[in-house]
């Protein structure tokens, strides 16, 4: 078919008209976020930390459920395992918390390998339940780890976070107290993690692997027939999500400084809320979790003082959105406006060759 490659002038791009503008806006926003600790109050930094870490978890879950069709209700396994590994690194091995966060991510990655082996034998709903059981097993096993407090839990050695790499420097540079400097360093780490996570997911989706992933999600059998290996594609995504989730878990618990199995493997905190964030914002888009986490944060601040009403309303909103706007708030918005901050569509442009050249293959009518 070599003669086909010659004359035509095709271009393939994923950019939309607005995408260059939105890329710039996003870069500006990231720069602004980086500088935020200089001019906002500590409580805002704190809230931003919460938003960013939840965003990372939501992006990871969305990557699994929205892009790979892997509905996991066991992501708390990786949050908790990453966090426990971080604690072990700091408390038992005397590592710097910063290094221990990386250890947390790696530990979650390591956990995901045997886990994947098991859960990928299961399909659909079985997969969901399988991930949940695995998370329970990990929780119950870590509850037996006496050196880290067993079921009681444990706290980071006092001062560990204050001696973390960079904290002293930030404290001196900005003239703030130790705990505040720790918060700022953690915030920057969260920002970095969020940006890298979103960037990597975006890059993945625009890569060949991302295309294969979409194909597998849409039609597994057909994907196999055009050369895509569904198991490998899904496993890859599963491992990546576990790694990022583990990093986020470790980071969250550096900030909390206290861990217990029930907290670190909490289904509501690390999976339920995350699912709500993705569903409210819009599953299967990068923008969705971003919108979702903001809405979730606002809801939480408005309603948190109403105790169980808060969760009740959150549940109702989740149900209503799933029933009436299954593509979430971002979906509603994008359907109206066609807006896309992170376009992944490959748009084909260019001219087909003049009819004379295609004569040989089309024949005359």
């Amino acid at each position: 078919m070599s003669d086909h490659l010659s004359a035509s002038s095709w271009t393939v791009s994923t950019r939309t008209r607005g995408s260059a503008v939105s890329m710039l806006a996003i870069l500006a926003l990231v720069a602004l976020a980086f500088a935020a600790p200089l001019f906002v109050s500590r409580s805002v930094v704190q809230d931003l930390f919460f938003i960013l870490t939840m965003l990372v978890l939501a992006q990871c879950w969305n990557l699994l459920a929205g892009y790979a069709g892997l509905v996991s209700v066991g992501q708390q396994a990786f949050v908790g395992f990453g966090a426990y590994a971080m604690f072990a690194g700091v408390s038992l091995l005397g590592m710097d918390p910063m290094a221990a966060i990386v250890l947390g991510g790696l530990a979650a990655l390591a956990l995901s390998v045997p886990t994947a082996f098991f859960v990928f034998r299961l399909q659909g709903a079985y997969f969901a339940i399988g991930t949940w059981v695995i998370a329970e097993i990990v929780r119950l096993s870590l509850a037996q780890w006496k050196a880290l407090g067993g079921g009681t839990g444990t706290s980071l050695p006092s001062g560990a976070t204050r001696d973390m790499v960079g904290v002293r420097f930030v404290a001196d540079l900005l003239g703030v107290r130790g705990p505040q400097a720790t918060d700022i360093v953690c915030y920057w780490l969260a920002l970095l993690l969020a940006v890298v996570t979103i960037g990597s997911i975006y890059k993945l989706l625009r890569s060949k692997q991302g295309l294969g992933l979409a194909a597998v999600r849409d039609n597994r059998e057909a994907a196999r027939s055009v050369g895509v290996d569904p198991t490998w594609t899904k496993s890859f995504v599963y491992l990546v999500a576990a790694f990022a989730t583990g990093l986020a878990g470790a980071l969250i618990y550096v900030q909390k400084a206290r861990i217990s199995p029930d907290a670190a493997f909490s289904v509501p905190d690390w999976t339920a809320y995350v699912i709500f964030i993705v569903v409210i914002g819009g599953i299967g888009t990068i923008e969705g979790p971003i919108v979702g986490v903001i809405v979730f944060y606002i809801l939480q601040n408005m309603l948190a003082d109403y105790g169980s009403w808060y969760l009740l309303i959150l549940g109702l909103i989740g149900i209503l959105i799933m029933l009436f706007a299954p593509r979430g708030l971002w979906g509603l918005f994008a359907d109206r406006t066609g807006a896309q901050l992170f376009p992944v569509r490959r748009i084909l442009a260019g001219q087909p060759k003049p009819p004379a050249q295609t004569q040989d293959i089309r024949g005359s009518d």
């Binding site: 849409d218 748009i347 089309r362």
Partner: protein
């Protein structure tokens, strides 16, 4: 050496035997038609050749290599391209992306390398105007074209076509026949399952007849069409 050779291939679904010791070989560059009543096992035969379904017994050799135990991905890479009888597009991807997936994965190349070829195939199969639309929005005819286009994008050595002419108007059918002839002329071997006999017979040089999973006829179209079995079982013409 034949490009594809089936030897005593069998497959059952429970008590139902859908492939019963099927053996035949296809020479490089040959175009073979497969006919038979509904449920005879034609689509299943394709699924066995592509690996979407595992054989119970027998061997399948492709291009000299035993592929009986290989998964569909490997066979695709080796050069087996197929269409599905019921079109199976990647619905949320655009038509062009459907081809990109097939191009990039089916021939182990980068997206960049296969982009132009995919675009040319779109033109060739008449899908170019729909290139940037989601495949889920296509009608049945275009879905069938997409099946063909996607199979072509994997750069196959052999192309398995499952009833892609059904439901086409006379003119469309003619166009399709021309396209398939052109593909064939480039040296791609073809196996075509089709009920639209005049279209089939204007392309293939040999017919295999399947009935209850068995090969009950194999030869040149004229003799096959005239044979008693085919007239009785398949054409339903009183003899």
């Amino acid at each position: 050496m034949p490009i594809l050779a089936l030897d005593q291939v069998s497959k059952s679904f429970g008590a139902l035997k859908v492939a019963d010791t099927i053996s035949f070989a296809l020479e490089k560059g040959e175009a073979l038609g497969v006919i038979g009543p509904n449920g005879a096992g034609k689509s299943t035969l394709f699924n066995l050749i592509t690996g979407n379904i595992r054989v119970d017994a027998g061997t399948i050799r492709f291009d000299g290599e035993d592929v009986t135990r290989q998964p569909p991905m490997a066979r695709c890479l080796a050069g087996v391209g197929r269409t599905f009888q019921i079109p199976q597009p990647f619905e949320k991807l655009t038509v062009f992306e459907n081809l990109l997936v097939a191009g990039a994965f089916g021939s182990r190349k980068t997206e960049k390398e296969v982009g132009d070829r995919c675009a040319d195939i779109l033109v060739e199969t008449g899908l170019y105007p729909k290139a940037n639309q989601p495949a889920g929005s296509l009608g049945l005819l275009q879905r069938k074209r997409l099946e063909l286009a996607r199979a072509l994008a994997t750069d196959p050595k052999i192309l398995l076509l499952d009833e892609i002419a059904g439901g086409l108007t006379e003119g469309e059918c003619q166009e399709l026949v021309e396209t398939i002839r052109a593909i064939h002329r480039r040296g791609v071997s073809i196996i075509w399952v089709e009920h639209v006999l005049h279209a089939l017979n204007s392309v293939v040089s040999r017919l295999v007849v399947l009935h209850f999973g068995r090969v009950i006829g194999d030869g040149d179209p004229e003799t096959i069409m005239a044979s008693r079995d085919v007239r009785e079982i398949y054409l339903g013409i009183d003899v």
